[in-house]
């Protein structure tokens, strides 16, 4: 607020109610504290100061599903756990969102073929909003997934009658521009050629 403080006339803002509600919702997502496997470590890193999920207003990890509206399924979901995951999902108040974090929750991952006890993707158990692949995904990837959830909330029209569901358009992205040597397509080809040359094994 420091930037704006004392700079405004005595005034009011006009917005539509839906937008205001969506804005409030997307800026304070409360994820549920629950990690199933190694992805949970990365989720913790995302919550820690270096990556700081609090910047997106989603830092209040709740220890109960009844106070949470975002479920980050971080880690392998085995069949014994899947029932519990479903139960936790059912206990969350609406509106609720699910991020499937990691290869295992996206589709079974390394356990796809021989994992007799692993659910082949958490989307077989609960409806998933955003998939974050990776094994485990970097914290940046999880933050990107969170931003996609926010985009989704941004486009929610649950007050208006008879509105068709719109596909969310990414409002913010976490993508970074290409490095200067790759920005120009011609230069990029040259750069790749050079790279190939460099990668060739040295003849003895």
């Amino acid at each position: 607020m420091g930037l704006l403080e004392g700079r405004m006339e005595d005034s009011f803002l006009v917005t539509n109610l839906e937008h205001a509600i969506n804005w409030a919702r997307e800026s304070s997502l409360w994820p549920m504290t629950f990690g199933l496997a190694c992805c949970a470590i990365e989720m913790m890193a995302t919550g820690a100061p270096r990556y700081d999920i609090d910047r997106f207003g989603a830092g209040a990890f709740r220890a109960t599903p009844r106070q949470a509206d975002l479920m980050i399924v971080a880690g392998t979901v085995n069949l014994k756990m899947a029932e519990r995951v479903r139960r936790l999902y059912n206990q969350m108040p609406d509106p609720k969102f699910v991020i499937a974090m990691g290869a295992c929750t996206c589709g079974g991952g390394p356990y796809y073929k021989y994992g007799y006890n692993v659910a082949k993707g958490v989307d077989l158990v609960v409806p998933v909003d955003v998939y974050v692949p990776g094994c485990p995904p970097r914290p940046e990837a999880l933050l990107e997934g969170l931003m996609r959830i926010q985009d989704k909330i941004h486009k929610m029209r649950d007050l208006t009658k008879g509105q068709p569901e719109e596909l969310p358009i990414p409002a913010r992205t976490g993508s970074v521009g290409l490095p200067p040597e790759l920005q120009d397509p011609e230069k990029a080809v040259e750069f790749l050629k050079e790279n190939k040359e460099r990668a060739k094994p040295v003849k003895a």
Binding site: L79, A82, Y116, N117, K120
Partner: protein, 177 residues
């Protein structure tokens, strides 16, 4: 006492109950008649020359070649093995293995688990290890105090580490394959 000496001692003590031995392997072992397992294990634990007070692990192995083209080359008949890895506190560094060879199914009736006397009365550690072997490989330990599944759900069907195990299509409404 070298593994060979231990094996000889066991042969001397139990005669025909010891059906085989290999003492130059990385894990030297004797093969024992399942019916006399508890006797042998009690001897291994209590004899002052042996003092194997610790059961490190119990392993169940399913020997079955499921590929019909490779059966001839496999070099073994289908069977199960249960191995007891034991070591000694009184003689540090001394390790030994007791091996049981079992049929895959009792009386060759599919679904009838082969039976082994439980050694949970000899080593308390065996309790959970035997439950795990029962759970995943499907060996029934007679005389076990509480032989229920330890890792999988109680209502699970089959024993997943058997080579001919087939995944369930669905489990509690969740598609499995």
């Amino acid at each position: 006492m070298t593994p060979a000496e231990i094996a000889n001692l066991l042969e001397e003590q139990f005669g025909p109950a010891v059906t085989g031995k290999k003492t130059d392997a990385l894990d030297p072992f004797v093969t024992v008649e399942p019916a006399r397992l508890v006797e042998v294990c009690t001897f291994l634990r209590d004899d002052p020359r042996l003092k194997f007070a610790l059961l490190n692990d119990i392993t169940g192995v399913d020997y079955l070649e499921t590929d019909s083209k490779k059966v001839a080359k496999a070099g073994f008949e289908p069977h199960l093995e249960v191995l007891y890895h034991i070591s000694s506190f009184a003689f540090p560094g001394r390790r030994f293995t007791v091996k049981l060879v079992l049929p895959r199914w009792k009386d060759n009736v599919a679904g009838q688990l082969p039976e082994v006397p439980s050694v949970s009365g000899v080593w308390r550690t065996a309790d959970w290890h035997e439950r795990e072997v029962y759970d995943l490989v499907g060996v029934f330990f007679t005389g076990h105090p509480n032989l229920v599944r330890i890792l999988l759900n109680d209502d699970w069907v089959g024993h997943p580490l058997r080579k001919d195990y087939e995944f369930p299509l669905e489990y509690h409404g969740i598609r499995c394959r």
